[in-house]
Amino acid sequence: MYINYARREITVKVVYYGPALGGKTTNLIQIHDHVADGSRSELISLKTAEDRTLFFDFLELQLGKIGGLAPRAQLYTVPGQARYEASRRLVLRGADGVVFVGDSQPERQQDNLESWRDMARHLASYGFEAQGFPIIVQLNKRDLPGAVPLEHFRRTLGLNGEAPIFEAVALDGRGVRESLRAVMERVVVRLRREISASAA
């Protein structure tokens, strides 16, 4: 988070986390394509020749003026492949919220779980507990035949019954805006709570 009083700017950082090929980069591409030039940065992708994320993707959104403030959202993805663990941890540094992008394919459920645990471990290493930290869970690739039932995915991650899961088909934009909106709302609620607490 970065706050500039003179310009009334608040910039928060949201990280899209999840197993390799789950659709994190696709989420950012969709956001980039649905938001006009003047309200966003370029989409930056540090990727391999095979189009796999090497370090991160980056996109900044400018949300306009809200009650005299100019909030901005920086969106990052992590590289999902196991060998990029150190890079994932770096990208997660300073995160204010996370969208966890899970994969609906039955054979990817173990990868979902490993990535989820990996994320919890990195967040803990930065002093966050998964409880109370803004995390939105998106279950992507709902279009695929054989996609696992929502409840199956919920049990895989060990999520309780109330935790919302956003179903998505990132490839054609479905669920992308909803997930972004949900994570930003949570980030802001937490931000407000902390600012009030520190002002008291």
């Binding site: 970065y2 649905h34 940065s41 809200i66 009650g67 403030l69 770096l90 802001v188 520190s198």
Partner: protein, 173 residues
Amino acid sequence: MGTMGEHGDVASGLTLSPLQEKALEAVLIQLAAKSSAGLVLLATRTGHYISMRGTQKHVDGAALASLVAADLAASTQITALVDASEVHTMILREGERTTLLIAEAGPALVLLVVASRDVPLGWIRMLVQGAAQRMAEITRPAPGRPMPALAAVMPGGEFADLVGQAIDDLWNE
């Protein structure tokens, strides 16, 4: 009263007061002038863009800030893996026409300078070191935070709804 930590909470994110911003801006302007830099950019260590100066136009500051912070973060980790006791504070790239320097400016900030190869490296390095040191001092944590002012301008309970609405408004189908 800038503070910075690895956590994303308010207490440890970077908060710049108007005074601090002014002071940083002054250092940045001076650095750009003295180094004849095409570009000087200031960002937080977590990749938030702060400010940019120089003759080069049409640069996407937000995108650049994220890359500069990532470059420094990666180099710092490389150092830690190779020799944990070593401390590098600058990254240097020498091209055919330009010199590119990325430097830590205290625990909260990172500085990028892009200058012509005609400008002596030793001179740029000295300027960057000086600027980085002053910026670190400007953002050194001090007791007391200017949070009440922000709490006052921040819309009440509906702020989250307004942000959600803003995202919907940005969205073109």
